[in-house]
Every structure is written in structure tokens, then in C-alpha cells.
Amino acid sequence: PLCCKPEKRGKVVCLPRLSRVAVCGGTHGNELSGVYLVRELLKAKDIVMEEEREEPASVLMVLANPRAMQQCRRYVDTDLNRCFTHATLNGPISDSAPYEMTRSRELNAMLGPKGSPGAVDLVCDLHNTTANMGLCLIAYSDCDWICLHIFKHLQRQMPDVPMRFIHFDVSSKESYSLDSVGKHGFAMEIGPQPHGVVRSNIYTAMKDGVQHMLDWVRLFNSGTIFEAGFVDVFTIVKNIDYPRDSETHNITATIHPQLQDRDFLLLHPDDALFQTFSGETLRYKGNEPLYPFFVNECAYYEKGIALSLARKRHVVVPAIRAQTEAERRRDQQGFASEEE
């Protein structure tokens, strides 16, 4: 992919401007920070539209799953945030298709099509988690310099908010979430917050995060050079399910009190993982220490995930800036002649 071209140390990577950005809330209808934030941003936009305003980038605000939002549920028929694989978006669809499958195609038409030159440049998809994860940016790539620089910018601007960059090592062929529709994209996941609740501290963190992200986009588009640096990237290694009853499939243990709320604190072999209902401690049997996250996320009980585990890596991030108009035209011509 374009973002992963190897660059000489010290060189500034030039990337296309981000002319269209989408901010999406309510992909899960009960993750309320994003629902309320996008509603507020839509209201503010209505006010701004009345004035003369020149925006170097256009920002689309989208409420992704309105029916689920209305019922304050994660989804109506099926998880919308798993409906964006190429196969699901382009495969056959029946009249009785789940609501979210129809909706994912609408969103793909609006913000995509995924994988095409017409797709928006950046998707920021807003989520909440019941896990004690602070603010996380979740992306499919560990070398998308746009996403990594946005993360570094947020870290600088919001030093009091615990912040991590999570990398889901999934190929673009297999990518399934809304943020994969744009040329660049990430989920902004903030917790802990119960689903169906708005906590003011969490809302404020998300509002600030989105604002700083949009500020970064404007700075980037106006030619700012963002210096090289590094980011600690957490790459997912595996998930661990709850112990379950073989007949009923019901869980037979809870996250151990020594692990509960301790996302991103290193889990060592033999550390406590679960506490059975009869009080027994079950321990982590892996070989290497890993970083837990999504510890006791409500929505993952049905997906068979009690916690996820990640390795941490120091990723070097090159300096970047936006392509100039001249560079962009050269790029287009180069592309055209390659095709010939």
C-alpha cells in the first residue's frame, strides 16, 4: 500500500491532501458519546452553513445506524461494524436481508465505494467501550502515517488522557468495519462507559479528540510538515474467551478482580485471569507476557471474547506533509503513464 513505501531516514513523506473527512457516530446505537457528539456537530454545522465559510476540507457528519440508535441498542439485526467486507458490500443481497447489511451498502455509497478513488479520504468512527481503555485509535495498519500522526497530535494536545494506538493485523481484503471504507480510517474508542449512558468526562474527551483530529487535518492540508517520531503500537495477537458450560454455553467465571479494569497493564504467564463462581482462580497459560485490552467489554460476551491480548512495538513514524498541487498532478500523470 502507498503508505508503506520504505523511505530514507530524514526524508519527508508526501501524501495526498485529505479533502473529504467523515466523522461517524452511532455505528452501535447504544454507544452514546458518538451519538450525542455527531448530533451536536450536525446542529453546529446547520448554524455555520448560514454564514460564509471556506473549508479547505469538507467534513461529513454521519449517524451510521439510526434504527439502532432509536432503540438504544447495539444493532437491530446484525452488528453493522462487521458488514463492510468487500464480500458483504458487493455480494448478492435479498429482500429479507438484515437491516444493517442494507445500511452498510448505503454508507458505502455515501462514503465509498470502498477501495475506489471516490472514497472519502479519512473516516473517523466513534465508539465507546465498557472496558477501562481510555482513548484508543484502532486501525488496520501500523504504517498508515496519517493515522499515526493524528495519534501523535492527540497525545500532544491531550496529555491528561490515557491514549493508545491499537493495530488489528487484518488485510484490506478482510477488513470489516466502517472505518475501512475511507482511503484512511480509524475507530476512536473511548471507555469506560456503560452502554446507554453518557458520562461527561468521556464525552468531553471524545469531543476534544475529534476537534484535535480536524485541526490536524486542516494543518496537514495547509502544508504543515509533521516531524518524525515514534509511536508505541499495540498489535493484537489473540482473544481469550470466558470458560463456559459445555451444555448451556453460559459463562462459568468472571474476569478476575486482579485483571478487571487493568487494560494495557502487562499480563504475565500465571497471572490471574478469571474467577469461577465457586471462587477458584484461573490463570493465564500463555508463554509470553502480553498487554490485555477490551477487558470485560459487554458486547464481546456474544462474540466469545473476554479480553484481547497485544504485543507492543516501537514504530518509527517518518515526517510527513501534504502533496502540493504540482506534486499531485505529477503523481496523476505518473499513474496514467504506468497504466499505459
Binding site: P194, G196, V197, Y203, T254, I255, F277, N296, C298
Partner: protein, 306 residues
């Protein structure tokens, strides 16, 4: 000179029910009751018949608060006498069924004690809900639970007095659909003490009584809704100063709500109150951001077995 002759007499509490899953996504009660249905030895007590029971199985299966309507509001006289069976909302059918098995309330066939297990997203800790200040049996039981839990587990238990709440046990904070080990264990401990009390009471050795006692409670005054716009949409959140501040005094002028654009709204009441049920998820649709209470000391008459 003892007050033995003036203690209130109650029949033995022979039959006790423990309800879980009245709201299908309040996981501590669902998990405990399922556990005890499978193996009830933990809840057995001498001379007491304890029955664990899942009240809303369809909501539990879907891990949702309710299917058609809130079961905890379904026990009205109209609903309990409604005809139509299969055409009635699911929870109304359930309310009729539960009333048949465990009630009717107030009749001689009714169960003696019912514990209805709930969780809340509010930072309420362990809370017992009392409907009447004259209900000396429940008041004595709650006092016993409160004193014992504090002594044995340093676990603080609060008692809420309200005649428009349904009696029960609330433990929080816990997100809906999530099972937290500390919340699970706390609820388990509360039930243990409650059953111990019933066993002690039933033993009723001659001369043994639970002496008169004073009990600190929080009497509910009113519910406060979120500020809303003309279309009924919420326009502010619980203020960070108030969030998680259950049982802490809220004084006139203290921050109460924070609008989405950052403005603080202050509490305009005439005196200090003690807020609770702050930011309970299920109450957004019931127009309740929190309830106000005042502290009161109740006197529970001495009680003994009849």
C-alpha cells in the same frame, strides 16, 4: 424492664423467593439465580424453603432490559387482572404468572419474603429499597444486613425509603450486560446475610428478639430529569462533579448538569439533598437523571417470632 411484651410479632418466614433477571441485562442477579437453580445448597437455611427464580427469561435470553414492557412496572392491578393471555405484552403475562406462583400479594398463600436482584449503572454500592417506614420486619432485616456487612466485609449498605420504587436490592456500578466480580460477590454477601437473618428470626428461641433499633435511611423526595429541548431531546449531561457522587450532599448552587457546549447548570433547590440513582442507563427513557433524598433516622420496633 424489658420491652419484650411490646415487640411486634411476625409469623415465621417460611417461604423465600430470590428473583433474578427481572431486567434481563442486570447480570449479577441472572448469574446468581442460574447458579442456585442448578445447585441451591448455598441458599439453604434450616426451616426455610428458598426458591431462586428467573422472572424474565426471554429478556435474559436476549440480554435486554425487557422484551415488550418493563416487568418491574408491570405488577399493576389492571395488568394482573387483564384477560387475553397470549395477546398480552410478554411482561404482563409474566407478571400474572409470577403473581400466581408467588402471590397474590397480601394473601396467606403469598411468599413471605421476596428478594428482587438488580444492578444499576449508578455508583450506589449496595442499596436496599424499602417501601414503608412501618415495615418493621424488613427494616430489622435491613439493619441486620447493614451492620453485619460493614463489620465482616467493610461493605457499606445504604437503605432507600420510597413508596413508588419496587422493593429490592440494587448493586452498582455495573454496566448493563456486564458481570463484574466485585459486584457479583457483594450481592452474594448481601443475600447471605439476609438469609442468615431469616434463619435467626425463625429460630425464635424463647426470649430472643431483635431489639428496637434506629436505622439511617435516605427518603426519596423527587426525580430530576435531564434538561431537554423543545423536541424532548436531552441537551446536557450529569456534571462531572455530580457523576458518581451518589449519597454525597448536593448543596444549592452546586454544579448539576453540563450542557454539550460546556455550560454548567447548578442545583436550584432550597436545601441540601443527597442524590442517588445518578445517571442510571435505564432511566433516560423514564425522564430521570437522578433522584433527591433526605437523610432520616427511622425507629424499628423490636420484633420476634409469633
Amino acid at each position: 424492664m424489658s420491652s419484650y411484651s411490646s415487640s411486634a410479632r411476625f409469623d415465621e418466614a417460611r417461604r423465600v423467593a430470590i428473583f433474578g433477571g427481572t431486567h434481563g441485562n442486570e447480570m449479577s442477579g441472572v448469574t446468581l439465580v442460574n447458579l442456585w437453580v442448578k445447585n441451591g445448597s448455598e441458599i439453604q437455611r434450616k426451616m426455610v424453603d428458598t426458591k431462586p427464580f428467573i422472572t424474565n427469561p426471554r429478556a435474559v435470553e436476549k440480554c435486554t432490559r425487557y422484551v415488550d414492557t418493563d416487568l418491574n412496572r408491570a405488577f399493576t392491578p389492571e395488568n394482573l387482572s387483564a384477560l387475553g393471555e397470549g395477546d398480552l405484552p410478554y411482561e404482563v403475562q409474566r407478571a400474572q404468572e409470577i403473581n400466581r406462583i408467588f402471590g397474590p400479594k397480601g394473601s396467606p398463600e403469598a411468599y413471605d419474603v421476596i428478594f428482587d436482584l438488580h444492578n444499576t449503572t449508578s455508583n450506589m454500592g449496595c442499596t436496599l429499597i424499602l417501601e414503608s417506614s412501618k415495615d418493621y420486619f424488613n427494616l430489622q432485616m435491613m439493619n441486620y444486613i447493614k451492620v453485619t456487612a460493614l463489620r465482616s466485609y467493610f461493605c457499606c449498605v445504604n437503605i432507600v425509603l420510597c413508596d413508588w420504587f419496587i422493593a429490592g436490592l440494587e448493586v452498582g456500578p455495573q454496566p448493563q450486560g456486564v458481570l463484574r466480580s466485585n459486584i457479583f460477590e457483594a450481592m452474594r454477601v448481601i443475600l447471605k446475610h439476609a438469609l442468615d437473618f431469616i434463619e435467626l428470626f425463625n429460630e425464635g428461641r424463647t426470649g430472643v428478639e431483635f431489639p428496637t433499633c434506629t436505622v439511617e435511611v435516605f427518603r426519596v423526595l423527587e426525580r430530576i430529569d435531564y434538561p431537554r429541548d423543545a423536541n424532548g431531546n436531552i441537551i446536557a449531561m450529569v456534571h462531572p462533579n455530580l457523576q458518581d457522587g451518589d449519597w454525597e450532599p448536593l448543596n444549592p448552587g452546586d454544579p448539576m448538569f453540563l450542557t454539550f457546549d460546556g455550560k454548567t447548570l447548578h442545583y436550584q433547590g432550597s436545601g441540601t439533598i443527597y442524590p442517588t440513582f445518578i445517571n442510571e442507563a435505564a432511566y433516560y427513557e423514564k425522564q430521570q437523571a437522578f433522584v433527591t433524598t433526605r437523610r432520616e433516622t427511622l425507629v424499628a420496633s423490636a420484633i420476634r417470632k409469633a
